[in-house]
Structure formats: C-alpha cells, structure tokens
C-alpha cells in the first residue's frame, strides 16, 4: 500500500487569510441569522422555503463530496485497489463537504432547537424522505470521520488505537458505501415530492436514479479536479495516469445518464417544452449540453490522458451536475403565481463563508496530516 505524507509548508498564506476574511463575514451573518431569524438574513419565503443553502450547501455540496463515496465504490466494491492512493484525500473532501452540509441544514432549519427530535426514535416518521435523508446524512458524517480517523491516528502515532480501528473499519467502509447510495438518490426523491410545483422537465420517476448516477460521476470528477489542483498548488507531480484510468469510467456513466435523461423527457412528449425558450428551458438545455460536452471530451482516450482536457471535462461535469441540482431545487420549482426567489447577499455570503471554511480546512489537513500519497513510486511503475 502507498505511503501518505503531510505536504508541509506555510499555513497562513495570503490565500488563507483571504479565505479567513470570507469565513468571518459568513460567520457574522450566521450570528445575525440566529439573533434575528431567517427573515433578517435570507430571501427565503413561504413559496421557496428551500433556497441556496439547501440547493448549494446541501444538495450540490454533498454531491461534490461524493469523492469518498465514488472512490470507496471503485476500491472496495469493484476491488480496484490501484485507486487506493486517491481514497484518503477524497475522504477528506467528503468529510468537509458533508459536515458543512449538516451545519448548513442547522442554519437553514427554522426551528433549529427542535432538530434533536430527529434522533429521538419515538418521533421518527419512517415514511418521510426528509427523515431518511437527515438520518442518512447524519450517520454518514460520523462514518466519514471514522473513515478518515486513520490519518489523524498516524499523525499522532496512536498505533494501538489505529490497529484496533483497523479491525472494525470494514464495517464503516461498508456503511460508507451504503449510506450515500441511499441518500444521494433520496435527494432526488425529495423533489419528486414537490409534485406539479416542479417543472415536468425535472420531475420524473427517474429523479432518484439520475441524482445517484450524477452524484457518482461528480464524485469521480471532483477527485480529478482536486488532484489536479493539489498538484498545481502544492507543486506535486501530476497523477495523470491514474486519473486517466479513473476518467475512463465516467463516459459510460454519462451515457447511461444522458440516455435516461433525454429519453425520459422525449417519451413524455416534453421536447417542445424543452425548446420553448424562457429561463427553465434555456437552463435545461445548458445543463444537458454541459453533461454532453463532458461526455464528448472524455469519450476519447487521448483526451483522458491530457491533463488540461481532463481537468476541463471534470470541471464541466461538476458544473453540469451542480446546475442539474440547482435547476431541480430552485429554477424548475414554481410554487405558484408570483412567488420568486433569488438568494440575498447575506445568504450568499454565508454560503461563501462555508466554502471558505471548507478550503481552509482542506489546506490545513493536507499540510499537517498524512493525506496525500507519496507519488514517485507509482509514477515509476507506470
């Protein structure tokens, strides 16, 4: 197995301080939200109770945090151990992504002081999709911290504890594959519940499947993007050969996704609606064009080996998956005449703050804990 090492280097760089400022601004508005309520900070209303915090921080955020899930699926389920070097850093982004998604929910939930009722068994509503997502995401956050624990234990040389954890970690890894499969599809089911309020371009019985497939592809894409950025920022060699192999999986998933997506819209006779003009139709076309563009780039093996195109395709894919989620949760959602929503500036700033915290946390963990693999031996093997 590969060896992981902290990257090292100065922690408080200029970028870090900039991120810190953004995080502080975000925290200021979080404090304001808790003092004066949601209405003081957000543009959320009775028509749009879910805004950018759910659409971005939770739905897109957890999809971007699917790296850990996708890699676990590859390595542990399909037994492709050559990808194991990518697992730990993927787990790190997943851990941050999911934890902060959980935090966002607590900021977004109106009566947050009631939130603990989710874990009180006799209040459980076993028929609720939202309950499933809440419980699943909550558990998965725990699982991710346990899965990532070896990096921390290595750092502090807690070998006895590490050895004991290693004996049981398989259970957490199994949960780590099961739970995202459940809730990433349920995130789609949630908007199925919206009924006629959701435009038929997005509302389909395939929503859970489409959410799951796109989440897995986004998981791969985020691993690629993260690896490329890490090699640029931390002056590490490129992991292109490994990434190229990983990228080979994506086109197949994308093909399944696009066939289901387009045929579903087509068979329901909605193509005229898709080309009818207007915001919904335009964004529907853009969303699928982005997916198609990513497919077009990645379908050629030569492109998979070109880091620039690989990176561009992965970014396109993330944009596509992100837009798909935004469209399903906000753009395609019309709760009735006259309701409108666009996030307010403080609302956006809280989201930016959370992203900043995520980036700072990532930098700190990567620089101080053994997360990224030592790459030279692998490159030599290739």
């Amino acid at each position: 197995m590969e060896v992981n090492k902290p990257v090292g280097g100065k922690l408080f760089t200029r970028t870090f301080l900039a991120l810190f400022t953004i995080a502080l601004i975000g925290m200021f508005f979080v404090a304001k939200r808790y003092m004066y309520g949601l209405g003081a900070v957000t543009n959320l209303n009775d028509g749009f109770p879910w805004g950018i915090w759910i659409a971005y921080d939770v739905v897109v955020g957890t999809a971007l945090a699917c790296g850990g899930y996708s890699m676990a699926l590859m390595v542990y389920v399909f037994n492709k151990w050559e990808y194991h070097p990518l697992v730990r850093s993927a787990l790190l982004t997943s851990m941050f992504g999911y934890t902060l998604a959980g935090v966002s929910v607590l900021i977004d939930v109106g009566r947050y002081w009631q939130a603990y009722n989710i874990v009180v068994p006799w209040y459980s509503n076993l028929h609720s999709v939202m309950f499933e997502v809440a419980l699943c995401v909550g558990l998965y956050i725990l699982v991710l911290w346990v899965e990532f624990a070896p990096a921390v234990l290595e750092k502090f040389k807690a070998d006895a504890l590490h050895a004991r954890l290693n004996r049981y970690i398989f259970a957490f890894i199994a949960l780590g594959v099961l739970l995202p499969t459940m809730h990433q599809s349920s995130l789609g089911t949630m908007m199925l519940m919206a009924g006629y309020k959701l435009s038929p371009l997005w509302r389909t019985g395939f929503l859970p499947l489409l959410f799951l497939i796109s989440a897995i592809t986004m998981g791969f894409a985020v691993v690629i993007v993260e690896s490329c950025l890490a090699s640029l920022l931390f002056k590490r060699p490129l992991e292109t050969p490994l990434l190229a192999k990983l990228a080979g999986v994506i086109p197949w998933l994308l093909m399944v996704y696009l066939v289901v997506r387009v045929e579903d819209v087509n068979l329901r006779g909605l193509l005229p609606l898709a080309f009818s003009g207007g915001l919904q139709s335009d964004l529907f076309l853009l969303e699928n064009a982005l997916f198609f563009l990513a497919l077009l780039i990645l379908i050629y093996p030569s492109n998979q080996r070109n880091p620039r195109l690989l990176f561009a395709a992965a970014c396109t894919l993330l944009a596509a998956g992100g837009l798909y989620r935004f469209n399903t949760y906000i753009v395609g959602f019309d709760p009735g005449t006259g309701w409108q929503y666009f996030p307010s500036a403080p609302e956006l700033l809280i989201t930016f703050g959370i992203i900043a915290i995520e980036l700072m946390g990532y930098a700190w963990f990567v620089k101080r804990l053994p997360v990224l693999p030592v790459l030279e031996p692998i490159q030599a093997k290739m």
């Binding site: 209303n45 640029l232 620039r308 990176f311 929503y341 666009f342 307010s344 500036a345």
Partner: protein, 374 residues
C-alpha cells in the same frame, strides 16, 4: 306520583330516553364525561325532589322568565318534576300569608337541605327598607334564609353584584348576594338574563355530587365562565384579520364582521354564550350572533358600567391595525448586491478553472518532456 322519568305517556311528558339526553347534555356543558349523565339523571329523579326556595329582590323577573327558554327540560318539568320549587313569588299558586306560611314550613322541613336561589339585588341603604316582602326587609329575609340553606345561588347580574339597581348613583344602596352574605360561599350565575342552562347545570351538579362545581374568584362556575367570549366567538376570525363593522348597517356589519369597534365587550367578558348560545332559542341566538355587540352583562365592572359603545380593553391580543392585505409579498427579486456577489463567485470559479487548466497544460509539457526522454 308515578316516576315521571320512566313514564312514557303521550301526555307531553319527557320520555326516559329524552331525559337521559338532557342529563348527558348537562354533563357535557359542565365538562364532565358524558357517562356522568346517568348519575345526574339518578340524582334528579330521587323520590324526594330537591326543594328550592327562590327569593326575588330588586329585579325585573327576567331571570325567572329566562327559565322559560330551555326546551330540555321545559319550565313545567323543571318545577313540577325535577326540583320542588317550594317558593317563587312569580310562580306561587298561593299568595299572601298562605305563601309565606308554606315557605316557612318548607324551610323548617328541609333545614340545611334546600337550595336558596336569590334573584335581584338587595338594597341596603337605610337598613334595607327599599325592598320589603311581607313587611320584612329583603336583606333580612336573605340573611335569615341563607343561614338555613344547603347552598346559595345568586341568579342574574343583580343578585351577583348588584346589576342595574346598583348602577351609579345607586340610590338604594343595592348590593349583590355575595356582599350581603360575606363569608358564605355563594354561587353566582350572572347574566342579564342569565343562561338557564348554566343555572340548571349547577343545580344538577350540586344534586349529583353534593358539592358545588369549581368556582372562580367571583363565585362563577368555571365550566360556564372560564373563558372569554372573545375566545370562542364565531366572529373571531374577522377580528384577527382586521375586518370590523364600523357602524350599524354598514357593509362590514351586513357581512358579519367583528363588532369590536362598535363596542363589543367580548374581549373582556367571561361567559360561554358563543359555545352554548342562549338556551334553546335557535341558531345564532346570542347578542353577537344577531349583530349586536356584547355589552358584558356577566362581568362586574363591564355590564351596566362601561358605556355600550366604548371600545373594550382587549385582554389577550391587540387587533390588527388595518385590513389584512389580500396580496402578500411573494419573495424578493434579485438585489444588485446579490447579483454582483453571485456573478463574482461564478467568475472567480470560471477564472480559477481556466487558469488551472492553462497551468496544467504547461506543467504537463514540463513533466512530459523528461518522461519521454526517460
């Protein structure tokens, strides 16, 4: 006498079935379980009917008349079968010395067992000479009789605290029974006129459980006077929405809006009128139901005291300042700041992505060369 409660002769008497229904309804009024109806029925049909002495002071006899209103039981059933109304100046068959003699005899026979009902206020000025019955001051009659009674019920607002006779300047020094009988527990059934069911239910409760129902600080049974009229008013939604009739006959009044601005005292008056309406007079039969503001007849210090059209002091929530808007605001549009921020974020992400792609290409060429050479 046959047992009327089980008698089903077609002579207009109440059937057993109907009687049980009455008792069950009475139990429900008082907030007792419906099964208590059977116990109430048993209590009301004891061979020995509970004797009642009904004294009338400074009143209009409206309280006695209000007993005509209930249909279950009707007045004749009440006084002939349910209770033994041994003395009531309006309904006595005998008169003069005969009636007074019978009263004395009944009191003597039922010492500490009869129920004393007082209707009307009691004048106390100048020794109470302003109301006399059979040459005796009414205030003395009440004191004398109350000392021998099992329970004292003051029916109507006059008996409860003085009512109209006590209104300023109160020339006769009229007082209510609780004031005159200070130290004795007096159940008050205020109202002008009082709801006969509140009276009947109290009597039945006493007969059944041999104790008085729970009373508030003014001696009113809590089952009937525990809540503000405002709390159960059928026009309450109009109040909450800020829809008020502003004068009699205006559009709001015709549409049945809230009468608060016409001086309705519902927000400061405790009574069960909106829940049980006035006896069996029919649907909507209570002041507010007919379009007239409540004047607070059951509330000392409100009825006969605060002018009819003076706006009430609202005890719970203040009314909306204006009409509720028909169109609610449905979310904010895009603000310039938010648009700028969102645009900047997308721009930064796109820019960073492009820079990274460019640098990746350069890096690949650098790292690619030695790799190829090797």
């Amino acid at each position: 006498m046959s047992n009327w409660a089980t008698d089903t002769t077609p002579s207009g008497r109440v059937s057993r079935r109907d009687f049980l229904k009455v008792c069950t309804a009475a139990a429900v009024y008082m907030g007792l379980p419906a099964s208590m109806g059977v116990q109430l029925a048993a209590a009301a049909t004891r061979t020995q009917r509970p004797p009642v002495i009904w004294l009338s002071g400074q009143g209009c006899t409206g309280c006695t008349e209000s007993l005509l209103r209930p249909g279950h039981p009707s007045l004749e059933h009440l006084i002939l079968n349910q209770i033994a109304l041994d003395y009531n100046e309006t309904l006595n068959t005998g008169a003069g010395h005969q009636a007074e003699e019978y009263k004395k005899k009944s009191i003597q026979d039922n010492l500490n067992r009869f129920i004393l009902v007082v209707e009307g206020a009691i004048p106390t000025k100048d020794g109470g000479i302003y109301c006399q019955v059979a040459g005796q001051n009414f205030v003395d009659i009440v004191k004398e009789t109350a000392a021998k009674a099992a329970a004292v019920i003051a029916i109507g607002s006059c008996a409860s605290w003085g009512g109209i006779p006590s209104a300023a300047p109160n020339p006769t020094g009229a007082k209510g029974v609780p004031e005159v009988l200070a130290g004795t527990t007096v159940v008050t059934i205020p109202g002008c006129p009082p709801n006969a069911y509140n009276f009947l239910s109290t009597v039945l409760y006493f007969l059944t459980f041999n104790k008085l129902p729970e009373l508030d600080d003014k001696g009113r049974p809590k089952f009937a006077y525990g809540r503000l009229i405002h709390e159960n008013c059928e026009r309450r939604p109009h109040f909450d929405a800020g829809r008020f009739a502003k004068e009699f006959g205006d559009e709001g009044h015709r549409l049945g809006y809230c009468l608060y601005k016409l001086g309705c005292k519902g927000p400061m008056t405790y009574a069960n009128c909106p829940s049980i309406l006035f006896s069996d007079a029919g649907s909507g039969a209570w002041p507010v139901g007919t379009g007239h503001p409540c004047f607070g007849c059951t509330e000392q210090g409100v009825g006969f005291t605060i002018p009819l059209h003076t706006q009430a002091e609202v005890k719970q929530v203040t009314p909306a300042a204006g009409q509720a808007p028909i169109e609610t605001k449905r979310g904010n549009g895009v603000s310039i700041g938010a648009a700028a921020l969102a645009g900047a974020a997308v721009g930064v992400a796109a820019g960073a992505g492009m820079m990274a792609a460019k640098n990746l290409g350069a890096k690949d060429r650098e790292s690619g060369k030695p790799a190829k050479e090797a």
